[in-house]
């Protein structure tokens, strides 16, 4: 079943229109990416999908129809977002941050949750080393890993990632994308918001180009990657002169 469907979807901040009647779908097990320049409305899109901001138009999670009620309901349906601002609990230890990711499963057996924790530590050995450190002492890359790890403790069905590579060193970016690939292989449906179009299109199945609040191009990721305009504007391969 389709994981996410938005249609005629608009987001506004007072009189400023951030998103204007866009339509988008996320298919199960696919990585769907939304690329586009700064200020195109990408963050507004995921925040509104997550219920953190008001929207108009249709938003549906066909696999979990009740999830549109509140943010909490979305999390209970295992839909979550790794926001651009990471939003960690700075004064808590790394391991507490991670454990809280499984908050909605707090009545389930502890072993099962601790098993998820071990899996995340396997994906991010660095977090295991720093597990008792307070989250605010982490470096930028480690914070991103922690934010992603916390989301994975939820065992998400639909995972939205907002600029996971923003401001990170190239080696860490590569690591983050390697993990996105792993998650995809595990069958997690992913909506990936990225400015790093090259890496995003490589891992994605389907892509949308968002500019000035509207979708200007969509298609299979490989097709979008070969589109001359995308090559020119986002992949930096345009012909000079």
């Amino acid at each position: 079943m389709t994981m996410l469907e938005v249609d005629q979807f608009s987001v506004r901040y007072h009189s400023v229109v951030a998103l204007n009647k866009i339509s988008l779908r996320v298919e199960p097990g696919h990585v769907t990416t939304v690329i586009g320049p700064n200020g195109a409305g990408k963050t507004s899109l995921v925040n509104a999908i997550m219920g953190l901001h008001d929207y108009s138009g249709t938003l549906r999670f066909p696999f979990a129809p009740d999830a549109t009620r509140t943010t909490e309901a979305r999390v209970k349906a295992r839909i979550t977002l790794v926001p651009e601002s990471r939003d960690l609990f700075g004064q808590m230890s790394v391991v507490d941050n991670l454990r809280l990711g499984a908050y909605i499963d707090r009545y389930q057996p502890r072993n099962e949750r601790e098993g998820r924790l071990k899996e995340v530590f396997r994906l991010f050995p660095r977090l295991r080393e720093r597990q008792s450190q307070l989250a605010y002492t982490l470096s930028g890359g480690e914070r991103q890993m922690l934010a992603l790890g916390r989301a994975l403790l939820l065992r998400p069905y639909l995972l939205m990632l907002d600029e996971p590579s923003l401001g990170l060193a190239p080696l860490i970016v590569a690591e983050i994308f390697r993990i996105i690939q792993t998650l995809k292989d595990d069958g997690v449906s992913i909506l990936l918001i990225e400015q790093n179009a090259r890496a995003a299109l490589k891992v994605a199945d389907y892509a949308y180009v968002l500019e000035n609040g509207t979708v200007t191009l969509e298609g299979k990721a490989s097709d979008v990657a070969n589109n001359p305009r995308v090559l020119d504007s986002y992949l930096g391969l345009g012909h000079k002169g």
């Binding site: 909490e72 209970k76 700075g90 908050y103």
Partner: protein, 346 residues
């Protein structure tokens, strides 16, 4: 001063301190989760005594009407936007939380607590009324301010305090009350005599503060409440709503306040405005621990109680002055040793 007097004062100080411990712990609890310095906590304590006395004399306590009005306002605030948005499917929860539960408590207080009812039942009714009041207060005043700065929240808390004292004067009048307490022969421990009342106070205080400490340092649910304070959006993304966390904490604070009121009622005369000084003493205790740590708040509040006892022996007219002066060196010391946290909040 002889040793015997010193021991007596110490004992008295610890019993009073145990009450301040409850206040301090409640203030720390509310502050760590919501950043609200919950001044009305003291009013809840005073209202508990006044409510129980009203039940004792067979009249309907004014707090029942306050509860009814608060429930009506809170319910309207919750339902209005749902009606406007046409989302009546979401109305069930507010109807239960703000309508049904306060309704049952009000009905019980009106019709099921006759004058000749047992003290325990009256205490239970008092506990229910006061506890229910706190989350409604949170809904009406603090929920709309969920993203406001601590200063704005403090101003709102002071306003709530003044509102409550005015309502207290209107409903209960200016007379002070003393409530009945546990009676029985005093108990001797290590050769010192303790009344059952003071032992009860100390036991409750120890149990509640230890329980809260364990809840927030061990249980995932407790940590989730703290998480809502550290990062509201982050908490939403793990399925913890900041509004729900605030309300739950207000409920616990209301319960702790009502218990403190039942404990302090028999030993102190409570007036409609007694809450402020009580709350302030709890606050002094809490501030010694930076309003953040339970063990420090407990130690601070006990210190306040003991200093107060000795101060009333030596210079009883300056009792409160001495207690509140205590805060100055403490603030000095804290500003030297405590790290500044502001830049760490993302």
């Amino acid at each position: 001063m002889s040793f015997a007097i010193a021991v007596l004062l110490l004992q008295d100080g610890i019993t009073n301190g145990a009450i301040y411990v409850l206040l301090a712990v409640a203030l720390v609890l509310v502050f760590t989760v919501t950043r609200i310095v919950f001044i009305p906590q003291g009013d809840l304590v005073a209202f508990t005594g006044l409510t129980l006395t009203a039940f004792e004399t067979g009249t309907v306590p004014g707090t029942v009407w306050i509860l009814a009005a608060a429930a009506a306002i809170a319910l309207a605030m919750d339902l209005m936007p749902l009606i406007l948005r046409g989302r009546l499917d979401l109305a069930v929860r507010p109807l239960i939380e703000m309508g049904l539960i306060p309704g049952i408590i009000i009905a019980l207080s009106l019709f099921a607590v006759p004058r000749e009812a047992s003290l325990l039942w009256k205490m239970a009714a008092t506990l229910a009324v006061i506890t229910a009041l706190a989350p409604l207060m949170h809904r009406i005043v603090f929920q709309p301010l969920v993203s406001a700065s601590p200063l704005i929240l403090l101003i709102a808390a002071v306003a709530v305090h003044f509102g409550l004292t005015s309502l207290g004067l209107h409903f209960f009048g200016p007379e002070g009350v003393r409530t009945p307490g546990f009676t029985g022969p005093s108990i001797s421990i290590f050769g010192f005599q303790f009344t059952q009342q003071s032992l009860g106070v100390i036991a409750c205080s120890v149990l509640l503060s230890a329980g809260l400490y364990a809840f927030f340092s061990r249980a995932l649910t407790g940590k989730a409440l703290l998480a809502a304070a550290f990062n509201r959006r982050g908490a939403e993304l793990i399925g913890v709503s900041a509004v729900g966390a605030g309300r739950r904490v207000a409920l616990i604070a209301g319960l702790v306040g009502a218990i403190s009121g039942l404990l302090i009622g028999p030993t102190t005369t409570l007036y409609y405005d007694s809450g402020f000084i009580l709350g302030l003493k709890g606050l002094v205790g809490g501030i010694i621990g930076g309003l953040a740590g339970y063990p420090f708040a407990v130690a601070g509040a006990l210190l306040v109680g003991v200093v107060e006892a000795f101060a009333s022996f030596w210079a009883s007219a300056y009792r409160d002055v001495i207690v509140f002066t205590l805060i100055i060196p403490v603030l000095f010391w804290r500003s030297m040793v405590a790290p500044h946290h502001e830049e760490e909040t993302e």
